[in-house]
């Protein structure tokens, strides 16, 4: 086990507590940088989606994880970012300009949503954000002069500094990765500053936050704006990656997926956003694997275990039928959510911390270290 001896106040402020962190994150970055030369184009494309989902995850974490304001409307912010990009692109606005404009505009919309949300708590806030997302979806479908309604909009290839950045190329991946890294660094900076601490204070006790001089309303609006702006930036990348956007892409389903990202990753740390994004995006390749390879594998297994050829073929068909059943993805989503809530409420990152601690203190690990405290329902209506 490593003991840290702090000799300077700087030690409590810096991002990497010790050299081990620099090494492991450096290694991770190196792996990510050479990924395009190693992975197949399909996996590269998934990796781009991981970046985009992770950016949204970071945005959502700031609002939900750190400020404690639930939102089931983040798909709408993503949509606003995406449509801003697609709209401005028609007038040959350069990428950096519409990228930042999209972030700014979404941030303003986020702040506007934040104002009415000030008086709302818990479940009322959830329904208000859902309503907001529905209204945005409907506006996108009806405001045909700008959004082309349900026909959707085509998004042209990205041009950056005069060169084309095709959506399947490694440069686009590097761009997404860079945005992700910058978002994470910015968020970490925020979290170690007064603003980030104010967010956490509001999450844990609004009364105490107020009595410590925190303007709760102002900081809630700030949190909404920052979260929305980050999601808007992700929206621009999302639009470019898909090269076509239409209102039905930005439904409640997508908002729920974003929540799943932070739930599965772990809603208490930025690591959670990235891990959750990896998990969520990789469900699709996993399903493809289930459909294509699983039946053969299981049939082979059955054959070696002594089942006849005919029997094995039968099993193969049965497994194939199951794996390609309509809506299997939904069932898998459902089971994953329930399992995580029941058995790993701290998410993947929480699991990682547990494993790490297990080896650090081996053989003295106590399961109770991470035991959740039951609080039971004391009416939250009295908040």
């Amino acid at each position: 086990m490593r003991f840290l001896f702090k000799t300077d106040y700087e030690d409590d402020i810096k991002l990497f507590p010790h050299s081990g962190y620099v090494f492991s994150y450096g290694l991770l970055l190196a792996v990510l940088l050479i990924a395009p030369y190693v992975l197949s184009s399909y996996l590269m494309s998934q990796l781009v989606f991981v970046c985009i989902y992770a950016i949204v995850g970071v945005g959502l974490l700031i609002l939900t994880g750190f400020t404690g304001q639930a939102s089931l409307g983040h798909a709408a912010f993503l949509a606003i970012g995406a449509y801003t990009a697609a709209y401005l692109q028609q007038f040959n606005v350069p990428f950096p300009v519409y990228f930042l404009t999209a972030g700014l505009l979404t941030g303003v919309v986020g702040a506007l949503v934040g104002f009415p949300a000030l008086r709302l708590q818990g479940i009322y806030l959830v329904i208000a954000t859902i309503s907001f997302a529905f209204i945005v979806e409907e506006i996108l479908a009806r405001w045909e002069s700008v959004t082309h309604g349900n026909e959707g909009m085509r998004v042209k290839t990205l041009y950056f500094l005069g060169t084309a950045v095709p959506r399947d190329g490694p440069t686009f991946y590097y761009l997404c990765l860079a945005v992700l890294v910058l978002t994470i660094v910015g968020s970490l900076n925020l979290l170690r500053s007064p603003t980030g601490r104010a967010f956490v204070a509001i999450r844990d006790s609004e009364t105490a936050a107020r009595s410590m001089g925190i303007n709760v309303s102002l900081y809630k609006v700030k949190s909404f704006a920052i979260s929305a702006a980050i999601t808007g930036l992700a929206g621009v990348l999302f639009a470019h990656k898909l090269s076509f956007i239409s209102p039905e892409m930005f439904t409640l389903q997508l908002s729920i997926e974003f929540i799943i990202v932070i739930l599965i990753g772990g809603a208490f740390s930025l690591h959670g956003a990235v891990l959750g994004a990896i998990f969520l995006v990789m469900i699709d390749p996993f399903l493809t694997y289930l459909k294509d390879d699983m039946p053969g594998v299981i049939a082979g297994l059955a054959a070696t275990l002594g089942a006849g050829t005919e029997r094995a073929a039968h099993i193969q068909d049965a497994v194939a039928a199951f794996a390609s059943a309509n809506g299997l993805k939904g069932a898998i989503y459902g089971i994953i959510i329930v399992l995580f809530v029941l058995f790993e409420p701290l998410g993947l990152y929480g699991r990682w911390l547990k494993i790490k601690l297990f080896f650090q203190v081996f053989p003295l690990y106590k399961r109770a270290t991470f035991k959740r405290q039951k609080i039971y329902v004391k009416s939250e209506r009295n908040r």
């Binding site: 529905f134 959510i337 329902v377 009416s379």
Partner: protein, 291 residues
Amino acid sequence: MLDFVQQLVSGIALGCVYGLIALGFVLVYKATEVVNFAQGDLMMLGGFFAFTFIGMLGLNYWLGFAGAVAAMALFGMLAERVVVRPILGYPQFSIIMATIGLGYFLRSVAGIIWGTDDFKIETPFSQGVLRIGGLVLAYDKLSVIAATIILCALLYLFFNRTTLGTAMRASSENMLAAYYMGIPVKRVVSIVWAISAAVATCAGVLLAPITFIHSNVGLVLGLKAFPAAVLGGFGSIPGAVVGGVLIGVIESMAGFYLPQGWKDVAPYIVLLAVLLLKPEGLFGLHVRKKV
């Protein structure tokens, strides 16, 4: 004028269905302060059960109806036992997420079992209309309204007049204290889930003649019932029904008088407006945290 009344009645009928689903939301919320996002899907499942009993096995309508309600009550208890019980006492957000997961699962399984087609249940109210002057009112719509009133009254009496109802209200206020007072909190929660699944089934079966049953109907209607419950203040049984009716009427009026597209968003716009003016809903209580 006749158009208006016609629209009003069909709005009220639709609103009653929302109200019935919203009742389920409110029941679970009242007893456990959990918002059950799978409520609409329980309704969908109830509809499919009834369809299986009536349409596929050829049972009598009332028998099938009762069978579906009973089966769903059991299913509600099962869902509570498996998904909610282990996390009782943990933050609300966890339980809400668990019910979202449950909803996904139910939709998908229903899709796998019954397919993705639309189904219709033949009911005694499917045909026939009531004529009052020039007004034509379909029985199926009237049946929904009547059933809602009856169910609502029964539940209201149950909560306010019976010991079990009082126990439920107590455990919603403070679960631990209720437990110490000898209320079997776990069983109470289980019963609440059974009742809300049963109410959802009623909604599903009554709905069948108006809309078809398909695996996504729960999600679509659940998302309308949710604002209904919020509009009503999310803890009030009459509030849920009033909220449901309001949403139904707004929707049907917007569909008739406003340009296309308004129908789907009008309820949400009204909801946002109400929340802005009265953040605790129309019938909600606003109490402050004590420090």
